[in-house]
């Protein structure tokens, strides 16, 4: 809490919006000339949910955006402020490069810890479901693991949020067969799916705030983090050079004079390949 305000942190990642971009395994990010950098689309839902929780609590909450990445990621943090976040911090250091998801989660958690010390303990962390480049989809869970707090992934609804001592959050978790309801004590980490909300576009007021905002950049030396746990050397997962997938065989056009004839031929093909 920061005074009587719930302290919410939203973790975002800047990714390339071009899907044809080359994946840079060393930096664990997509790099391409001309590829437009933007907030990971999944994280937009996390930002929006943070803002909605603040609205729900009649502004008795503050929403802070946190990102790990190169200096350029600052622009995405400004965008997060334009979309309603109250402030933002960037974790950036050449030594962070090559971190796998567990190491990235470790650094984010160290950032959260520092935010807590500076402003007041963090109560709730929101993450997007996954990133659109390296798609690991586990950063939220792993932040919670390093922090040793409860977490839930695939969150489609925040049913209830109650600050207090300890506060609690009740969420709906989207499963393959329906929805689970879980209650967790705060602090907690939620990974959010797209269905949860419809992100708004930046307001004029937000845009002005984003231009004026001061975004702190924290280096490794600013965090109480062990260098052995980060970067390529500190990561347990090694990423190799990417390559294009083999071309799909077939590409066969099903010809026929009538829909019936085409349907018959298609069915025959599917039977030949033992699919039906």
């Amino acid at each position: 809490m920061i005074g009587d305000k719930l302290h919410i942190v939203v973790c975002i990642k800047q990714t390339s919006s071009s899907t044809n971009a080359q994946f840079d395994a060393k930096k664990a990010t997509v790099q391409a000339a001309g590829a437009q950098a933007a907030i990971n689309p999944f994280d937009e839902y996390a930002i929006e949910e943070g803002v909605r929780i603040r609205e729900r609590l009649n502004s008795k909450a503050t929403v802070h955006a946190l990102s790990l990445g190169p200096a350029e990621a600052e622009s995405s943090l400004r965008e997060a402020i334009a979309k309603g976040c109250d402030g933002a911090t960037l974790l950036s250091d050449p030594q962070f490069e090559g971190s796998d998801t567990a190491a990235t989660a470790y650094l984010l958690q160290k950032g959260i810890e520092k935010l807590g010390k500076l402003k007041g303990p963090v109560d709730l962390v929101l993450c997007g479901k996954q990133t659109n480049d390296s798609d690991a989809g586990v950063v939220g869970t792993q932040v919670a693991a390093w922090w040793d707090v409860p977490s839930a992934a695939s969150v489609r609804k925040v049913v209830e949020i109650a600050p207090g001592n300890p506060g609690k959050v009740v969420v709906g978790r989207m499963m393959e067969d329906g929805t689970d309801t879980l209650e967790m004590s705060l602090p907690a980490v939620l990974s959010i799916v797209k269905e949860i909300n419809e992100p708004r576009i930046a307001s004029l007021k937000g845009k002005m705030a984003s231009r004026k905002a001061e975004i702190a950049v924290w280096r490794l030396s600013d965090l109480e983090a062990e260098v052995e746990k980060i970067g390529a050397a500190g990561s347990a997962l090694r990423m190799g050079e990417t390559y294009p997938p083999p071309k799909r065989s077939g590409g066969e056009v099903i010809e026929g004079k009538s829909p019936q004839e085409k349907a018959k031929k298609l069915l025959q093909k599917l039977k030949e390949t033992k699919l039906l």
Partner: protein, 330 residues
């Protein structure tokens, strides 16, 4: 010395998800190469007798953690339970299903065990020298493949994309060693409580488990059009998928959405009806074994990428196809 391949069996309300059969088929191959044991581990409440069944899919050993506090999956509880067993038993590799919960479970365990974790893995082999996992996963919306490996430290962990491997077949006459492991989660002060479950009442199968998916896009024209797709899907024992455009228009719920911001699936057969095949859609389905595209426009991207392209109006082709299938079934 670390040894053995472990497959994590995910259960929902006492029923095992079929992904365990897929893990057992690839797990067995790896275990054979290593000449090590194939083990199933499961965590739940009242699951012991059902877990014995894994012998018939090739498991040589079944480890069961059975406790009422672990009846329902939570990140905290299940990760801690699994990590405790792993620390005691020292397996070489852990294979998880990369389902909604499996992904999260694997992620949390990887931190607790300081282990390397590959997610969304679609290829899996053993490096003969180091006896470590060699993994491949699609990335960048499936436009690229990325090899992954773990630092030589054990366990090595892979979360395997559902459908990436065939299901293990039933084999006769194998009785696995079943061992119950005692843990006491009531002492862990877990902070997550399971409050309930609400079933999704749509009659159609979930896409994650379907071997055949009939998927619709903007060309389907509305919620009514999807009932045609549903009819075909039911006839084929499959499920219904959708493009984001169809979902955003409210024609079908989000859980059916395939693609970058939807779900990733790898069925044996994907029949795309009135879907153009934008890169974000391809991200969710391009790993399907066989793709059929039905589209009015022969120049649509998916018509070029699929195995079988059928040009035409889906409102004519689908009824004809349904008719033909009914005929052939007699």
């Amino acid at each position: 010395m670390p040894s053995d391949i472990w497959c994590v069996a995910e259960q929902r309300r006492g029923t095992f998800l079929p992904t365990i059969q897929e893990l057992l088929s690839i797990g067995k191959k790896l275990a054979r190469e290593l000449q090590e044991k194939l083990t199933v581990i499961t965590i739940g409440s009242g699951v012991e007798s059902a877990a014995r069944e894994f012998g018939k899919y090739g498991a040589e050993r079944v480890l069961v953690v059975d406790h009422p506090a672990l009846a329902h999956y939570t990140d905290e509880g299940h990760a801690r339970a699994l990590a405790e067993v792993v620390r005691k038993e020292d397996p070489r590799a852990l294979l998880f299903p990369c389902s909604a919960n499996g992904r999260s479970w694997a992620g949390r365990c990887a931190v607790l065990l300081e282990a390397g974790l590959g997610t969304d893995v679609t290829e899996l082999t053993i490096d003969p020298q180091s006896k470590t996992l060699k993994m491949v996963r699609p990335c960048c919306g499936a436009s690229l493949l990325m090899p992954l490996s773990c630092r030589t430290r054990f366990p090595q962990m892979a979360a395997v994309r559902p459908g990436a491997f065939p299901r293990a077949e039933i084999q006769a006459g194998k009785t696995p060693e079943v061992r119950k492991i005692d843990l006491d989660p009531s002492r862990w002060k877990l902070r997550t409580q399971f409050k309930g479950f609400e079933e999704d009442h749509s009659q159609v199968k979930d896409i994650a488990q379907a071997e055949i998916i009939v998927s619709g896009g903007y060309g389907v024209g509305g919620a009514d059009g999807f009932s045609l797709l549903e009819e075909l899907a039911k006839l084929l024992g499959g499920a219904v998928g959708a493009s984001r455009r169809a979902v955003d228009l409210g024609w079908i719920p989000y859980r059916h959405q395939v693609g970058l911001t939807g779900r990733t699936i790898k069925p044996r057969l994907y029949i795309a009806c009135g879907i153009s095949g934008q890169i974000q859609h391809l991200a969710g389905m391009s790993q399907s074994d066989v793709i059929v595209a039905i589209n009015k426009d022969s120049q649509a991207p998916l018509m070029k990428l699929c195995n079988y392209a059928v040009e035409g109006d889906l409102f004519e082709l689908l009824p004809a196809l349904i008719e033909e299938i009914k005929k052939s079934k007699g």
